[in-house]
Symmetry: C2
Subunit: 313 residues, 2 copies
């Protein structure tokens, strides 16, 4: 029995947003094309924020349009607000990842809104999407940042996460993403939070977004798998962090995640060896960026038989 | 309800054995004393091998005797053979960690024995221990290396692991350690192997020894916890590897392991902040050694409440 896992590359957004030097647009598109060719089905390619806020995303339009030329790729982008949603709709992006923080302090620092105000923003975004003609309506994802801890407030009450998850689904979210933005979570906490959210919102897709700041990233993936979670964010070479979360460095490493899932007998659709080669796009374009990852350094196990090879045999 | 976890520092043996420069004996003893003071209850302090084979352990006697002066600390040492066991008994070490590889090729390269010959060696070691007067008999641990994969043979049959586990227990092992020597394991494989060994050997203590070569180390710990495993090896700063296993770099990081377990509500007895300070002993003595770890870099979560603080409250 094949359990299919959906992976989402977030390095171009979460990985690049805090990096000081601009990755040229051609390199971003080369990275996206190469990773799509390695089997990555969904990529968060940019963020629709004002360039003066995050200069890295000044080329959001070119990157979005370039990525939309790749057949079969689900092209997603982060939006902080209604204005971002408007841009995404105009560009024809497939999926809009709205993000709000469950923690009040983090949400205030990040978007200068109370969480309840962000939920209202989300309602307006859904309204905008629904007012579009059929075929022009992107999938809308409700993302809950700092759901497993906040660098300003510490532990976040599970009841808060559940409350905002319910409000986003009631407002019309097609999917949720529950994020350990600052890498605080442990496997027991992951099980507690994801099970509670699942119990509250029913069958809507719940994605998991983990950071490996304290070494627990893949352990938390494993715990989320136990809860039936099948959608995971990660970034190539473990790029990433959050500009408003001190000490938060690194999304979970996509290559290591792919290896773990593949080795566990789960179907990711990704060719790990091709995926490892995609790292060269980053290394060439940003020689000063910190790249992480065990598989890239140590290689696949001796005589490793991938899921695809096992399935073909 | 408190679930107590037993941690064993193996960095002085597994971490130092492949390092080219000698750590001065006083620094080793400083490290051991500081880590014991941070709450580490058991430390594998050295290996009883000929100094010409591994010069790092030329001071095995001084290190053993020094460590035995620390009240309450369980002092363990690795032994490859009967001669090593004899030395350990003479020195009065508390625990002897015998190690053999489940994989034939790895065992041949490591100790020039077939696994069945190593089991015979183990029987002779148990006989030697039992011939000692009461009170002079160290605890004897049977360690199964490459139990989750071999850098020469790839995947290892679970039936092989189970067979040698049974033979070691029948021969008189007080405890077992099942090791992912080269960092190949995934959580599903961990559950399969540890459940199979448990079903075969009954209530004997089964420790887990994982390497974080491919990022899955703490995920594998979490899976082993699911199987009821409560004894874990790790090394401070993730030092480690195996001279006969190409690409195998790094035991799981003790500080990150302690954080994950503590955060999960499990009792390790270790003070994480004191543990992090012990890293300075390594950094001072071996400035050129590669040190790893998320918690040491990122710090504990904001407002983190440790198990000890929660228990006191």
């Amino acid at each position: 029995m094949r359990q299919k896992i959906t992976l989402r590359e977030v390095g171009l957004r979460d990985g690049l947003q805090i990096h000081s030097s601009f990755m040229p647009t051609a390199d971003k598109l080369g990275w996206i094309a190469a990773e799509a060719a390695a089997g990555m089905g969904e990529i968060e390619v940019t963020s629709y924020v004002p360039p003066k806020l995050i200069p890295q995303f000044a080329d959001a339009q070119e990157v979005t349009l370039g990525a939309l030329n790749i057949p079969g790729l689900v092209v997603a982008a982060l939006i902080p607000n209604l204005r971002g949603a408007q841009r995404g709709i105009e560009l024809g992006v497939h999926k809009l990842n709205f993000v709000m923080s469950v923690s009040e302090t983090h949400n205030m620092k990040n978007v200068r809104r109370m969480p309840a105000e962000s939920v209202n923003d989300f309602r307006a975004i859904v309204e905008l999407i629904r007012s579009q003609p059929e075929g022009k309506r992107p999938i809308i994802v409700g993302g809950l940042s700092t759901a497993l801890g906040c660098s300003y407030e510490g532990r976040v009450a599970v009841s808060h996460v559940v409350k905002y998850a319910r409000q986003l689904v009631e407002a019309g979210a097609d999917e949720l993403v529950v994020a350990d933005t600052v890498g605080y979570a442990d496997p027991n906490q992951v099980r507690e939070v994801f099970n509670a959210v699942r119990a509250e919102v029913g069958p809507v897709i719940i994605g998991a977004h983990f950071h490996d700041t304290r070494g627990t990233g893949l352990a938390n993936v494993s715990a989320a798998l136990d809860c039936g979670i099948t959608h995971f964010d990660a970034s190539l070479a473990g790029l990433g962090g959050c500009p408003f979360a001190p000490g938060a460095s690194g999304n979970i490493v996509m290559e290591d995640l792919c290896f773990m899932l593949d080795s566990m007998g789960l179907e990711t659709g990704v060719d790990i060896e091709k995926l490892i080669e995609v790292r060269q796009h980053i290394a060439r374009a940003l020689p000063d960026i910190a790249m992480h990852g065990g598989i890239a350094r140590a290689g696949l196990p001796h005589n490793y038989v991938s899921f695809a090879q096992r399935s073909a045999a």
